[in-house]
């Protein structure tokens, strides 16, 4: 442990009795150490005079306005997000509805009244040959695979975009 460290710790009242004795002995032996202690104390006295500078005028008002503005932005972003989700849900519901009407239309055309699940089962049973030929077609399989890939990619990017959006909400600056 060097003298500079001891002097600093002396200044901060961190020295034990033994160390105090050591520094006292050092000062008696070498006058330069006393000069360094005096200078260190002078620095300490000066540093205790540090005053803070004033933040620019109107700063608090600007911060509070920025907070108010950012909370409005957050609200609008959130509502936009929910609007998109609701739209997707609505499209899904409409699609199911249209499909049901179409199936029921076919069903009515057939003149028989059956429960929907039973009809679907029969429909796919009757047309199994058609479905088989479609599924065995390479072009259809290729297009289907590409569509599935695109769907998965878009799902991935949607999830990522949502994650980023949530992060931005948490770190609005």
């Amino acid at each position: 442990m060097n003298n500079d460290d001891l002097l600093n710790r002396y200044l901060d009242n961190e020295l034990g009795i033994d160390e105090l004795q050591t520094i006292k002995n050092e000062i008696e032996k070498d006058g330069k150490i006393l000069a360094r202690l005096k200078a260190l104390r002078a620095v300490d006295n000066s540093l205790r005079q540090i005053k803070s500078e004033n933040a620019p005028a109107g700063f608090t008002e600007r911060v509070m306005k920025a907070i108010a503005d950012s909370s409005i932005k957050v609200k609008s972003k959130v509502s936009y997000f929910f609007l998109s989700m609701i739209s997707i849900l609505a499209v899904g519901i409409i699609s199911i509805f249209v499909l049901s009407v179409r199936i029921l239309g076919i069903q009515e055309g057939g003149g028989e009244s059956k429960p929907l699940p039973q009809y679907i089962k029969e429909y796919f049973g009757k047309n199994s040959g058609i479905w088989e030929s479609i599924l065995k077609n390479n072009t259809v399989m290729l297009i289907g695979s590409m569509a599935a890939l695109l769907l998965l990619l878009s799902l991935y990017f949607t999830i990522e975009a949502h994650k980023n959006f949530k992060n931005r909400l948490n770190n609005i600056s």
């Binding site: 260190l40 002078a42 000066s46 540093l47 540090i50 803070s52 600056s173």
Partner: protein, 189 residues
């Protein structure tokens, strides 16, 4: 009455739905944080921008504030990190690496003496804080201006307490060496 509330009481009030109470925290910390940022960024405009950024970040994260630490420690950590981001985004990284984070505490190369009859030794010392490495100056300000303990400063800066203490000692020593060099110490005591 409101002005005597503790930081925690103000935060509780904000979380209860009184966002305007945040003005109390802003007014309480803006000057000291601005002083800190000016020392780090060496520029009034950047300091003000970073200060506003820090207060916004703190506001948006108030719900995440753990009461284990003091608000001041938590807030200054945000201020410090914001300043570091500004420094890197302003492409001052090279300058900082070369001049400040190299921990060069030897100020003997500076030939600045007291530059006018109006300037006293104390002002001179305070001016020379700017010549210290950024982190050294930061430790000095947090210790002397904000009255933070070494443990709190080490939390703000994300360094060990031993390193914090070493930085404080080195900063004082280099300022002391300047006083000895120009024989100013007698004037100040």
């Amino acid at each position: 009455m409101m002005r005597n509330l503790s930081d925690i009481e103000i935060i509780d009030s904000i979380n209860r739905g009184n966002p305007s109470d945040y003005t109390l925290l802003v007014n309480r910390y803006k000057d000291r944080a601005f002083t800190l940022l000016k020392r780090m960024l060496k520029n009034d405009l950047d300091a003000e921008e970073a200060l506003q950024d820090s207060f916004l970040k703190a506001y948006n994260s108030l719900k995440n504030f753990r009461r284990e630490a003091q608000f001041s420690t938590w807030f200054y950590k945000i201020v410090y990190n914001t300043a570091l981001t500004v420094i890197s985004s302003k492409k001052r990284k090279i300058e900082v690496e070369m001049s400040s984070f190299n921990e060069e505490y030897d100020l003997s190369g500076y030939k600045d003496e007291i530059d006018s009859s109006k300037e006293n030794v104390r002002d001179y010392i305070l001016r020379m804080i700017d010549k210290l490495p950024i982190r050294g100056a930061l430790v000095v300000i947090l210790f002397y201006l904000d009255g933070m303990s070494l443990a709190e400063i080490s939390q703000v800066m994300g360094i060990s307490m031993v390193n914090t203490k070493v930085m404080l000692h080195r900063s004082r020593n280099s300022l002391r060496d300047l006083l000895i060099k120009y024989n100013y110490q007698e004037e100040i005591l």
